[in-house]
């Protein structure tokens, strides 16, 4: 089999803010392992089925030191030596084929579990020749109408060992969202049937657990969803999209809504009106922080990927980027802040997975929609270079404001300027529209700024905090002690609850 790979660049991105005359300091290096462009691309004239590899990555899972990748046209490939220094040395092996649009991959013992449109399938290599010879139904039990938009995602394992699956809403011809279980997330039951747990999803294309084993999912801006949210996924809750309310009439629906929230009102009001309706742990404001969220991947504990261990990375389709999310628990519920992290990837970022060495593998495909990355697919690897970027490491809510932890000590003078530090807060309208504008924006006065002795913790006392509003912080004036400005001087905190004093 002929395979051609082209290495685009081996470039550092997230160059840190520079003081005059300084060399760019690179915290994360991005290596493009494989990017679309070769003539064996399956959309070129020369391509024949079986020739080459269209690596439109839709799922990633590690089998020891080997990396399994599912691709959208229905194959699973194994990268035998993904950590090879020279990308040209990478060896790919076809493991499974003929699948129906796989969009997720997980390891289970020696097997792989892969999502297809109509089921989760266990791929087994029973004779040990390195190729799957059993395609066993692991889980089914949801309706597949034949509508293209009715995707299935997962499985993804939580801390208790449950395997979570999410089911996209259909859209357009043949769509039927009133039959089980469109718009639902659930787990693989012991009987091999999908067990619905939570509903009101639209396009839940990313799943991932944090270090505590709690499951999260991303949704995408669209009908009923004003911007991209990251939700804590757990049983018995409603995430707001009403298109699949009809599924509640199914006798197997695990819960009912005490009331259907009324549309065309501010989001906080709608949330307060129905107890099952939960807010996202974090909103990723549209355009300000991408447009279509995809995968969730937790940064492993420790410093292997910089000072952000335990935080979540969130893939971004349209802007070919990765965002970072810090979460904390207030009154037992997750909430937190999101920050821009990495961008400039060659195609839409769809899947993220940390390798055994702590480097991040980024799987990409532009299929179906466009992205700023103009290649149709790709696989990249991001490695930490040992020097943390100057960034907000954590942002925590306080009863009267926020507490920011920086990766480097900051210059006390730079904290004083009014123009260099500002906050506003806003929310969205809850409506059936496709996406929604920010509404009810108010400025927050910053009354007090207290910098810790080590210069790394800044406590801001802020007026006019509003629960369930997104608080947008700009820190253009902040400088490190060595004069750098922040690599990303913006943060968006979703203040669902103000901590009690």
């Amino acid at each position: 089999m002929e395979m051609k790979f082209r290495i685009i660049v081996l470039a550092g991105i997230l160059g840190l803010g520079l003081a005059a005359g300084q060399e760019p300091q690179v915290s994360y290096q991005v290596q493009h392992l494989l990017t679309a462009s070769s003539p064996s691309d399956s959309r070129s004239k020369e391509w024949k089925p079986g020739d080459g590899l269209t690596l439109e990555v839709s799922g990633m899972a590690w089998m020891g030191k080997e990396l399994a990748l599912s691709i959208r046209k229905g194959e699973v490939w194994i990268v035998e030596n993904p950590l090879a220094e020279n990308p040209e040395d990478l060896k790919f092996r076809l493991f499974a084929s003929g699948l129906h649009e796989p969009l997720g991959l997980a390891v289970d013992g020696d097997d792989l579990l892969v999502s297809q449109r109509a089921e989760i399938t266990r791929l087994q290599d029973s004779d040990g020749d390195g190729v799957a010879d059993a395609y066993l139904t692991e889980c089914d039990g949801w309706n597949v109408s034949g509508n293209y938009h009715a995707y299935s995602y997962g499985p993804e394992r939580d801390g208790e060992g449950n395997l979570w699956v999410t089911l996209n809403l259909g859209m357009g011809q043949l769509a039927d969202n009133s039959i089980g279980w469109r718009g639902w997330g659930g787990i693989i039951g012991g009987d091999g049937r999908f067990q619905p747990k939570a509903m009101g999803m639209r396009s839940p294309s990313g799943l991932g657990a944090n270090l505590d084993g709690d499951m999260f999912y991303t949704d995408q801006q669209g009908t009923w969803i004003p911007a991209s949210p990251v939700y804590h996924l757990r049983p018995g809750v409603f995430f707001g999209n009403q298109e699949s309310l009809g599924t509640l009439e199914n006798p197997n629906a695990p819960f009912q809504l005490s009331q259907v929230p009324k549309p065309n009102q501010p989001y906080p009001k709608a949330l307060r009106s129905v107890k099952e309706f939960v807010p996202p742990a974090v909103w990723l404001p549209y355009n300000k922080l991408g447009r279509s969220t995809t995968d969730i991947e937790v940064i492993p504990e420790g410093e292997a990927f910089g000072p952000f261990g335990g935080q979540l990375l969130v893939g971004e389709f349209t802007n070919s980027a990765i965002q970072r999310v810090f979460l904390e628990k207030v009154d037992g519920e997750y909430q937190g802040a999101c920050f821009p992290f990495l961008d400039g990837f060659p195609a839409a970022v769809v899947r993220l997975s940390f390798g055994p060495d702590g480097s991040l593998f980024v799987g990409m495909t532009n299929r179906g929609w466009s992205s700023l990355g103009n290649r149709s697919y790709g696989l990249s690897r991001v490695t930490y270079q040992g020097e943390a970027p100057f960034a907000i490491q954590e942002m925590k809510a306080r009863p009267t404001g926020f507490e920011l932890l920086f990766t480097h000590p900051i210059d006390p003078e730079s904290v004083k300027s009014d123009s260099g530090l500002s906050m506003t807060n806003f929310t969205y309208e809850y409506s059936s529209s496709y996406g929604g504008e920010e509404i009810d924006t108010q400025a927050n006065a910053i009354r007090n700024r207290t910098l810790s002795e080590d210069g790394k913790t800044l406590v801001l006392e802020i007026e006019g905090l509003r629960e369930l509003y997104v608080h947008e912080l700009h820190l253009d004036g902040i400088r490190s002690r060595s004069g750098e400005s922040l690599s990303q001087p913006r943060a968006y905190y979703t203040l669902n609850r103000i901590p009690k004093p």
Binding site: S37, P49, H100, Y135, H149, R367, S370, Y434
Partner: protein, 739 residues
């Protein structure tokens, strides 16, 4: 709730358009109809409340109070008296027809009155003349016949009935009110009119619709007949020349179905519909009397009447206050309008101006273009009508909401714009919008000229075609449009006859024939600034190219090159898959090929097995049964692998045979492949485990079924092939041969 019944101090929260927020203090100003709350809360008011509520209930169909309804005024100016509101009313209530002094782009005219006796019920006409607002709630027709004798009124009716030679309606054979309802609710009628209560759309429920801006229909079954309404809907501009009820280019059947819906005509044969009661033959003397009245009342100022000239417009005395046509009481010989206090105040404000020229934007409101289109932050669907705008959901709101018109005169070339107004074929580029742009044929010149002048501006980007673009530039444009190192335009956009690779955004192969380059250039740099929420990404974020290796990564040059290729290039952008030569045909050679897909006659969990022996199988993974076999070519995987819309596939070969007789509930558990790649499907039937193995040799499909316990399961076979069956213990071997 009907629009005319909203005036009892109903809270207007949520009913006002988002784009026109009204501070609440204005709403309590006692001058306006909203302000009637204060009075109705007083003790005296409470009694009045009760009387009124009962009154309104009794008159549910025909409310007592009904001021003339002008959508553009109601939506933007009803909350506060304003010159602008007055200007709209002055035109739309026909004031200008007698008095002159309105400069709306398309002047208001009354409907045609010829052939009335073929189209409208005589009693309805008579009662409409006496109280126009009882014939149609919110009618803008003033009362003109108060003070006249019954004889004179009958004379007017007889005169009107004598106009025209009568119409013969073509007998239509089919009507479908249900389809008519779907068309009525999605074609854009709801932008101006109310939905029907029983309508259930993908995002809307008719019975939840409450809007103050909807234009009421008359009680159509009392006014007209199915055939006449059909005739009207086929050519509204022939009866309503001023475009306020715009002309739609409806198919004959569409018009009939919509008419059936509006008349609540459920049978399928329109010939069964009630026809109009023939008008009695009128005395010549009565007609003469009526004609004299019509002349005296100056009806010709608004309506085109044969042989009757309108009187010369007579200017108004600006010092007049609430008298004459503005009077609260009917005065003999003076048209009477049941104006609301707010309307009256607005008209007075307008009339007190010496310069009565109206702002150009008001024409948008007067003609209700704003019902569908936003312009300069104002208008577009209201929160109530928004759910009725449907189209291609995968394009977001751009796929269902008509485009904004901000700067449209800068965006569109004059000819392209005129073609949109005249409805020239091919001029409506957003085929995915269900809402249909009306035709403004006779107004197309004046509307085009107006918008082009209104939006003209100094252009900052010179058209690359002004100088002959180089071959290099055209070539770069071709690359940029494509997906091989370009900016991927064709991922979302159609190119001529070729579907995009992803979402079905509009055809960009002829943009140069529609757009000004200056607009195109600015739009590409920041699409969201023109249309917030568009799915179109900024491909040159911050003005920087994402493709550094084309034209030195220069954004200006790259955008120019794209334009140059669209205008001058030959060929197509790079990256459309070439489907010639069966490249996506899966051809099993040494091993079977398995592919899952959506497949006709099998379903959404089809597992296709192509054997090298040119005999192929489709297995239904949802039911756990084989569904069909065929010979020859196996399967073209193009749609499964690359088409975003995921259409259902079909066998590539011939001699398709369907399995029959395979019954009973089965649970599909997957399949295993043997060394040669032949599949064994794994099933469970109750407690029984069943294996269903297939392979092909010498053109014969061999099937082996094994079960672990119990009875032999029900096994079906394809119809129309020869089968040989051998039975052993817990085993069934079958061979299928084509006859």
């Amino acid at each position: 709730m009907p629009a005319g019944m909203m005036e009892l101090g109903k809270k207007s929260t949520g009913l006002r358009p988002r784009t026109n927020p009204v501070p609440s203090e204005i709403r309590t100003n006692g001058l306006f109809r909203k302000g009637s709350t204060r009075f109705f809360r007083s003790p005296l008011g409470s009694a009045a409340w009760l009387v009124l509520v009962i009154g309104v209930c009794l008159w549910a169909k025909i409310p007592v109070f009904s001021q003339p309804h002008v959508a553009g005024y109601e939506r933007f100016h009803a909350d506060e008296a304003s010159v602008e509101g007055g200007a709209i009313l002055f035109s739309e209530l026909g004031c200008a027809s007698c008095h002159g002094g309105s400069d709306m782009i398309v002047p208001r005219q009354g409907p045609a009155l010829t052939n009335l006796s073929s189209r409208v019920d005589r009693d309805w006409v008579r009662s409409f003349l006496k109280t126009p607002e009882s014939g149609r709630k919110g009618s803008t027709m003033p009362s003109l016949v108060h003070g006249l004798s019954d004889e004179e009124i009958d004379g007017v009716v007889d005169y009107l009935g004598s106009l025209g030679k009568g119409l013969k309606f073509r007998a239509e054979r089919h009507a479908n009110a249900e389809r008519g309802s779907a068309l009525y609710h999605e074609k854009g009628c709801i932008a101006c009119h109310e939905p029907t209560d029983d309508f259930r759309g993908p995002r809307a429920r008719g019975d939840q619709f409450e809007s103050e801006f909807a234009i009421a229909h008359p009680e159509l079954t009392k006014k007209t007949s199915l055939a006449a309404l059909h005739h009207f809907l086929m050519q509204p501009s022939a009866f309503r020349p001023d475009g306020r009820m715009p002309h739609f280019a409806l198919e004959k059947q569409e018009a009939m179905d919509i008419a059936a819906h509006l008349m609540d005509f459920q049978p399928s044969d329109p010939r069964e519909a009630v026809t109009l009661k023939p008008w009695p033959k009128a005395d010549a003397s009565s007609i003469e009397l009526g004609k004299a009245v019509v002349q005296k009342q100056n009806c010709a100022a608004c309506h085109s009447l044969p042989g009757i000239e309108a009187s010369t417009p007579f200017p108004l005395d600006a010092t007049e206050r609430a008298t004459g046509c503005l009077s609260r009481e009917k005065e003999e010989g003076v048209p009477f309008y049941p104006l609301s206090e707010g309307q009256r105040a607005s008209l007075l404000l307008f009339l007190s101006r010496e310069d009565r020229s109206s702002h150009d934007e008001l024409s948008f409101a007067a003609m209700n273009c704003v019902a569908c289109h936003e312009r300069d932050g104002r208008g577009g669907p209201s929160p109530e009508t928004d759910p009725y705008f449907v189209g291609m959901e995968s394009l977001g709101d751009s796929g269902r909401i008509p485009p904004p018109l901000t700067g449209v005169g800068h965006k569109l070339l004059p000819d392209a714009m005129k073609h949109v107004f005249t409805g020239l074929e091919g001029s409506r580029v957003r085929s995915y919008l269900k809402t249909q742009m009306p035709v403004y044929g006779q107004h197309s010149e004046v509307l085009t000229k107006w918008l082009q002048e209104e939006d003209s501006r100094v252009e900052t980007h010179s058209d690359p075609l002004d100088a002959e673009p180089s071959g290099d530039s055209i070539g770069a444009g071709q690359k940029l449009l494509g997906i091989h190192g370009g900016v991927n335009c064709i991922t979302c956009h159609q190119w001529d006859q070729k579907d995009s690779l992803g979402i079905p955004a509009l055809d960009i192969s002829r943009l140069d024939q529609r757009l000004r380059y200056d607009w195109f250039h600015e739009y590409l740099l920041n699409p969201a600034s023109y249309r917030p929420g568009t799915l179109m990404p900024p491909l040159w974020p911050g003005g920087n190219s994402t493709v550094p290796d084309v034209l030195e990564g220069n954004a200006e040059k790259q955008i120019g090159a794209i334009w140059a290729f669209i205008a001058k290039g030959e060929g197509i952008p790079e990256g459309f898959p070439d489907r010639s030569g069966g490249q996506f045909e899966l051809v099993p050679t040494d091993q079977p090929i398995i592919q899952r897909t959506f497949f006709n006659q099998t379903g959404t969990k089809a597992i296709l097995v192509g054997f090298p022996g040119k005999v192929h199988l489709a297995y239904d993974g949802a039911k756990g049964k084989p569904s069909l076999i065929w010979r020859g070519g196996f399967f073209d995987a193009y749609d499964t692998w690359f088409t975003r819309a995921a259409p259902f596939g079909d066998p590539l070969g011939e001699d398709t045979r369907l399995f029959e007789g395979e019954t009973g509930e089965r649970r599909f558990l997957g399949y295993r492949l043997d060394r040669e790649g032949n599949p064994t499907f794994l099933l469970r039937v109750g407690d029984q485990k069943l294996e269903d193995h297939f392979e092909v040799s010498d053109g014969i499909l061999k099937r082996v079924l094994r079960w672990d316990s119990g009875e032999e399961p029900a096994v079906g076979h394809p119809k129309g092939v020869e089968k040989t069956i051998r039975r052993k213990d817990g085993l069934l071997e079958v061979e299928y041969r084509w006859k």
